[in-house]
Point group: none
Chain length 204, copies 4
């Protein structure tokens, strides 16, 4: 249910030494920062390298393409996101429907706050729809698993509910990313409330 694929895409040459692993991490974080600040298209490989206090050549050593760099980062974040959901499973046993939504919101909200570049990566227009579908399916699956585990009695519409959670989260992400709206915490409260109600209704 969770994703355990090795983080190295076959297209990237994977670093052979520890040195390389550190470099990759630094480059990746630099990319995250620049993608967040500038957006995917406006971010330049040169600026990312500079942010990592590394050279263009070095950046290309590990990520032979801007697309591949974005993808690597995206995949990594998805892995972390799914891992967070999986981890949540151990603590939701026996929760009431009204609580599971909150738990998910809280956990994923934390994730998204820490990795604010995530929506930028997810919104890239050149993600092959296939990969997109797969990613969505995996996330939805993990959320569905959570719902299921917490409230075994819902199995009807469970996939739809999972998708709904995802969409509601997307609002929060967007709102949080957009400084104008994000300030109003009542919006999050509202959304949590709506979800809670829906879940209670699904599993009375």
């Amino acid at each position: 249910m969770s994703s355990q694929k090795s983080s190295a895409d076959p297209t990237n040459r994977s670093p052979k030494q520890k040195r390389g692993h550190e470099r990759v991490a630094i480059l990746t974080e630099a990319a995250a920062k620049v993608f967040l600040e500038k957006g995917y298209e406006a971010a330049t490989m040169t600026e990312i390298a500079a942010e990592a206090t590394s050279s263009i050549g070095s950046l290309y050593q590990f990520f032979p393409t801007k697309v591949l760099l974005a993808e690597a980062l995206h995949v990594e974040r998805l892995r972390q996101l799914n891992a967070a959901l999986v981890e949540l499973q151990s603590s939701v046993g026996g929760m009431r429907a009204s609580e599971i939504g909150d738990a998910i919101f809280t956990r994923l909200g934390d994730f998204l706050e820490e990795h604010r570049e995530f929506p930028v990566l997810a919104a890239r227009r050149d993600i092959p729809k296939e990969r997109k579908a797969t990613s969505r399916a995996e996330l939805r699956g993990n959320i569905a698993a959570l719902l299921q585990k917490a409230v075994p009695s819902i199995d009807n519409d469970i996939d739809l509910l999972a998708a709904l959670v995802l969409e509601l989260l997307r609002i929060i992400v967007t709102a949080a990313y957009d400084p104008d709206i994000g300030g109003d915490p009542r919006m999050v409260t509202e959304l949590r409330g709506m979800l809670r109600k829906r879940l209670e209704e699904a599993a009375p």
Copy 2:
């Protein structure tokens, strides 16, 4: 009394002749199409001109900047959107809370289906936050007015509710824009349901 261009004024030249008005309309629609297909950043002034079977010079005659072109289109769509909301006012008098949400969803859903480039325009990263706030405020105001008119008894949290409607619509937009998800009409139904419930609760 001319002044085709003048590097110092950041405004679109408005056409003075019939020919000009027609051309502007064609250019605008071409821009809408290309922005939708490619996204704002990847859209090319050259391609837009080509799509309009105009010369690049003609495009720049009326829209001296890519930003200004996008803005003009965005403003136009916002105008239409707000007009639709205002128009809706005349038909909501006496609706029940449970119906007003549906009415809005339907009307705005239609709009968004017809103008699929809207989210692209609205997501541009270079919109000055001030303008963004103003636009949001206007939309929210019109939605609030609708809610108020239909159900005068809600005045508590009416702005928050309006904002909520906007966010839920954003989901639909995004989902509709994203071919993978948009197909599932149950999602829209879900969202409508959630909103209906919330509104009923607000105005029992």
Copy 3:
């Protein structure tokens, strides 16, 4: 000695009505202003038309080319300049060598102050060298005539002296045009002094 050619270059269609003459004057002055402000290359036909509160089409009606417009203006200014020199002839009879230089400086200084775009026009890189030589020759000739008339005893080197006067004036022009230097009136005094001395020496 002075130039009396008709101001209309054969390449320009000359206006047939009074209306046309006014237009031409307005356009010409607008051109003068814009050339002065922006320089020849940076000046645009569009801006010139706007400055004349006229349309591009109208501008092109009278001056079918930017080059032709600049040339027409240049020729007009040269005509005025030469006319001023010719006019001066009637008042220099019997002046001493030490005075004639001052007289020329004063008169031409006035001209250049009133028509500050002159150096811009004269510095255009695309003036055919032939025309350039002719213009210079005419100016030099008129200055030589002045010197001759005032101090008939100088005939040796009179052309060289005339050229010298021209060059010294160029300094003033440049300096006057350049706000940083122009402020210092002592420079003009110096140049006048040097010229006076040289002339006295030439005609003891």
Copy 4:
């Protein structure tokens, strides 16, 4: 530690490798040539790159802007010019007033003959007046220092005299630049003579 480019810093990238230094030199000379031939505005970055048998990208690697390229070249020439003046100091001790002017004319004449693009660079309309004033001041200072060293008894008006030298040189430059006039060596002789006389008078 890279940072090839970064849209926010208005500086030339300095080369870090030997290859880079060579390229910069080639590009600079190519720029000098094209600026001289075409003038600043008409000179094209593409043509400069071609003249240097480099790619346009290489040119921009080191000179991120046409303005910056011109400035770099201008600054370099000013440096050389000032260096020439400073160097001259060691050989003017004890010269007579009548000689120092000639020495300066000769030295700077050589410089200007070798770097004929200099006036083009100096005449650019977009030089910030502040920089212009500074450059002038430095040149004037060096000339003043020369005059002072050679003829310590002049201190009255020394700055004005230095400015005068500069202006007289400007004539030569302009004349030399302008093929029509430059040919006449008597003009230079005249100017030298005038200056000599003025200096003798200043330091009898």
